[in-house]
Subunit: 300 residues, 2 copies
């Protein structure tokens, strides 16, 4: 019997599917950063900046309820991609929208979705540049977003070093209460970090700390020791939700402890930064974060 995705999990699936891809390093020197980070990064001849590329989709009944306010759906679709541009320390630029839509969908609903997209684009200085509409049985929005980052400022998942402090912005958990539809991607915070505090590794928390922290550690070849009491839990949420509910869209980053003072003194934002542990040379997360974060395919 052919193995199905439900038994495989998302990360292994992506690994299997993309193992033989033509990518950086061969004849094609264009990809500075490919599969496995929050965005891809593309070299642009003549420019010291890297082009960041992100694509992501939200699907009805998976990422939003069928009865959800349409403008919130549009906001979320674009804001998720913005959170990934933020994770690299980048500035967003232009977006394309690929709408897959059942033909019987009321036009007013689509206009609401596009109103939310437009609001999010205006708020975060994104130019909506085009897209495509295709017929489908279920409603989904695939967003493509470009961004730019100076090559020597770009944050990756892979640079964390033993001894680094491990930090998160904002509060985690309880996103299903409404945050997942109305969050503000941490673009300015991330741009400040890469310019002033230089995190050694960074990503956004979209599948929950319990899923995403191991990804950062694997990419960096390190482990982490967490102090669960220091994890900033959203009001009304439990620690368990803060670890595994997902859709927090906060920044997770590692930073040499000597640069923590800079953040404590000069951090110019209202969003808090919490130190939740440190990076260790020995692999694995201690204490184990127990339950897994959200996985698109693995059965609970």
């Amino acid at each position: 019997m052919t193995p199905a995705l439900a038994h495989l999990g998302e990360d292994r699936l992506i690994g299997l599917l993309t193992r033989r891809w033509p990518r950086a390093g061969g004849r094609l020197r264009t990809v500075a950063l490919g599969v496995g980070d929050d965005c891809a990064a593309i070299r642009v001849p003549g420019s010291r900046r890297l082009l960041l590329l992100k694509t992501d989709a939200i699907v009805e009944a998976v990422h939003f309820r069928p009865g959800e306010t349409p403008s919130k759906i549009g906001w979320k679709a674009l804001a998720r991609c913005l959170s990934d541009i933020a994770a690299m320390g980048g500035e967003p630029d232009a977006a394309l929208v690929c709408l897959a839509v059942p033909p019987e969908t009321p036009l007013a609903r689509l206009r609401g979705i596009y109103r939310g997209l437009g609001r999010c684009a205006t708020r975060f200085n994104v130019a909506l540049a085009g897209g495509e509409t295709v017929r489908a049985r279920e409603l989904s929005l695939a967003i493509t977003l470009t961004g730019w980052v100076a090559a020597d400022h770009m944050a990756r998942r892979s640079g964390a070093r033993p001894g680094d402090a491990l930090c998160v912005t904002g509060r985690l958990g309880g996103s299903g209460g409404g945050h997942h539809l109305a969050f503000e991607p941490r673009l300015e915070e991330a741009q400040w970090l890469v310019r002033h505090a230089r995190p050694s590794a960074m990503m956004d928390i979209s599948d929950g700390l319990a899923s995403d922290l191991p990804r950062l550690c694997r990419a960096s070849g390190v482990g982490a020791r967490i102090d669960p009491d220091t994890i900033p839990v959203r009001r009304g949420a439990t620690l368990q939700q803060a670890l595994s509910e997902g859709e927090d869209y906060e920044l997770l980053f590692a930073i040499p402890p000597s640069r923590l003072r800079l953040i404590r003194r000069r951090w110019p934002f209202h969003v808090p930064v919490s130190v939740i542990g440190e990076i260790t040379a020995s692999r694995g997360i201690r204490p184990p974060l127990g339950s897994h974060g959200y996985d698109h395919f693995r059965k609970p």
Copy 2:
């Protein structure tokens, strides 16, 4: 009752949804070419080339049959975007793949799809740079493709002038016999055209000549007179199919007649070029092409 998409048609739908988008001309000077052409084109500071951006999706049971050979599905998904980069005279660069997939999908099927993607990418020098996987009830692949074109070489839909000859590459119709899954996007042909013959307007034929020619004419503010006997019909297909079946993925272009000789003398490809009519100052297509081409939403 809210109007549904089926009564609206694709072009009007896109017009309605994107009317209030933040785009070129305002604070955001990034978009050189937005909604309404085959690709979006983005200005890159310091570069004389424009970044081309395309996103497109194929959906099971709409763009391919559920039982289709998986590698052909992957080829088609990427080749469709390549055809749009070709339509601008561009060179493709990097692609992202957003896979929406039911969790019970056999892994072997997905591997086949990605094998087809990889083959197409290798054949046309595309770097596969990343993507995303999301859970869904129906299988779809949304591809994002970047490309580059010198700003003064870029072909648009909007430059056709009265008196221009109207040309197509290859043969039209009968794509459902297999061509729609195995076509070769006309990248080299289009790059040669923009460098040497400078079409005044160009696009790819994806929805059929009867749908796409009116789009080129509307974008250029002109009309066209067609000689139906000169339309190159694929062997085994009817003229009706050549007009309205769609998925030809050939180039449609307008060119001053003085430059036709250059094409006749120096065209270095096996793919034929046919002159099928001329651009007129008076709007509309004569003779009327009768049936409409493929529209994603309009009822037949």
